[in-house]
Each structure stands twice: as C-alpha cells, then as structure tokens.
Symmetry: C2
Subunit: 136 residues, 2 copies
DNA sequence: ACATTTATGCAACATAGTTGCAGAAATGTT
DNA sequence: AACATTTCTGCAACTATGTTGCATAAATGT
C-alpha cells in the first residue's frame, strides 16, 4: 500500500484510492489487461475515471501499452526504469492463442533488425503468438 | 481488371465490382489502410459492405491484418503464397511516426526468438517505428 | 486551517464494429 | 438464354470502445 503510494509519487502522480486499486490489480493479474478487465474488477469505479487512470499511469511510466492482435488497448506494468520522460519497454510479448492471455517477457529483448537505407528506427514491438506453458 | 478477377477466383471468392475496387485501392496505396481509408476512397459503397469485404479478403488470404499501435484495424495485400487455409505473412512492418504510414517490409523476415521452456510459437508480428525514407 | 491544484463522477457525445434481413447480383445447370 | 441456388449488397438497428465538458470531491503545499 505504502509501496504503491511511493511508486505514484516518484512518477509525479497524486496518491488516490483508485490508482492504488488499479495498480494492485495489475500486480495480481501479472498479464496484460484491458480497460474492460479493470472495469470488471472494480465495478463501482466510474468508466471514465478508469480510462483516465490508465492514461495517467501510462503517461507517467508506470504501465505501458501492450500491442496485440485484438483492437482493444491492453496495458501491463513497466519495469523500474520507466518514467514520464521515457519508456524503456523494448521486450517481447507473448500471446497464447488458447487462453488468450498476453504476457510480458521482460528478459527477452527485441533484436536489432537491419533495414534498407533511409529508415531510422526509434522503437519496436514484437508479439509472438502460440501456446503458453499452462496451456501446452 | 481481369487480373483482379483471377485473384478473387483463385481464392474462392465471387468477382464483384466492390471487391475489385477495394483491391485496386490497396494496389494504389501500397501501404496499410484502414476501413475508414477505404470508405473515404469509395464513399458510395455501404459501410457494412466494406467491413464485410475486408473480412472476406482477409479470410481468403488476399489481404492480411497489419498490427500497429493505433487501435483501428489496418490491412495490406498478402504475398502470392497466402490462401484461405494459411497466411504466410511473417515479415516486418514499419510505421513512420511523422507521416503515420505503415508499410510491409516483405523482404525482412521476423527473426527466430528463443523462448524459455514451455512456450511454443506459431507466428509473430514485428512492428518497427521511426522515420521513413520520405520523411527523413 | 486554508488556498490551490488535480481527480472523480456524471451526462452527453463520438467513433468503430456487428447483426438481421430483404432485395440484387453472381454462379452453376439445363 | 432461362432458371434455381448461392452469395453479396445496402439499410436499419444495435453494441462496444473511447472522448469531452463540467461540477463536485479529494489531495497537496503553505
Ligand atoms: Mn510488456
Ligand atoms: Mn504486411
Ligand atoms: Zn495459454
Ligand atoms: Zn514517413
């Protein structure tokens, strides 16, 4: 609890009950979650507030967007080095096509790719799909 | 024209004016386009029909979804080897953050990534972001 | 305790995508 | 060419997802 407040403060955000609850939810889930998931977990909180909470957590470097093949936005917790100034989430994501869970593989970095002359690369997103440990 | 009809037939689809127009639009654009883009290019066609046209072209292996960081679905033409049974679109995509165009880099394949025990990978999507040739 | 700033909740709106169904067009058969 | 069958198209209605404006509530700094 105090821990969550500390994270919020060091990222320049005010400490509020909703933000702590959302962060705790991310910790519990351990996978990428959507706005709808969060809403399901805390039905008394206002929809719009949750959208703004997710936006605030993302902008301050506490969570990052996880791009996968369905169109709803999903988020997961960032590593400790992320801040409002800069995200450092260049790791691989894995989506299991059986349980539909998408997880961060923090230890697997996106490899460098050589592109033809003229392209300059700032960042990347690598999503691998298949079957996860639990579903194998 | 006859060419487009041939592609439709070999992929098990009926030849219709709308499908030819949509395919021609993909050829002209040469980049990933959204439903909204298609609708803008052919305003007399019905919205719903265009959604179903894109779905039909995707299911039959004529176009593939291009995953990028915004939430609207985008599509681009597949290579010749794709069919309804199986897509083979394991190439890299590049999104320019200035002009916002996303393109297929057909020649750059997604590298193989070693994952921890238990994960089995079927497919992947790699999106690189930065500045493209024209915007450099 | 007070002033200031920021967050929350509600209503209304905007955009993206889906479903059901009737009529139109494409295809296969005679 | 005419017909029967299948599939596509267009319209209406609906669902899902995300946004904006504004008043009130809560957090922060003094
Ligand atoms: Mn991640
Ligand atoms: Mn592609
Ligand atoms: Zn799984
Ligand atoms: Zn560009």
């Amino acid at each position: 609890m105090a821990d969550l407040n500390h994270i919020l403060k060091t990222h320049g955000l005010r400490t509020t009950a909703i933000r702590r609850e959302v962060m705790q939810y991310f910790l519990n889930e351990g996978k990428a979650v959507s706005h709808q998931d969060v809403e399901g977990a805390m039905p008394k909180a206002d929809r719009v507030t949750l959208y703004r909470t997710l936006a605030a957590l993302e902008e301050s470097g506490i969570i990052h967007q996880v791009i996968d093949d369905d169109t709803v936005k999903k988020y997961a917790l960032c590593g400790t080095e992320c801040s409002g100034d800069h995200h450092h989430d260049n790791h691989v994501h894995f989506k299991c096509e059986r349980c539909n869970d998408t997880v961060c593989l923090e230890d697997i970095k996106i490899p460098h790719i050589n592109l033809p002359q003229g392209y300059s690369v700032d960042s990347g997103n690598l999503l691998l799909m298949g079957t996860c440990k639990s579903c194998a």
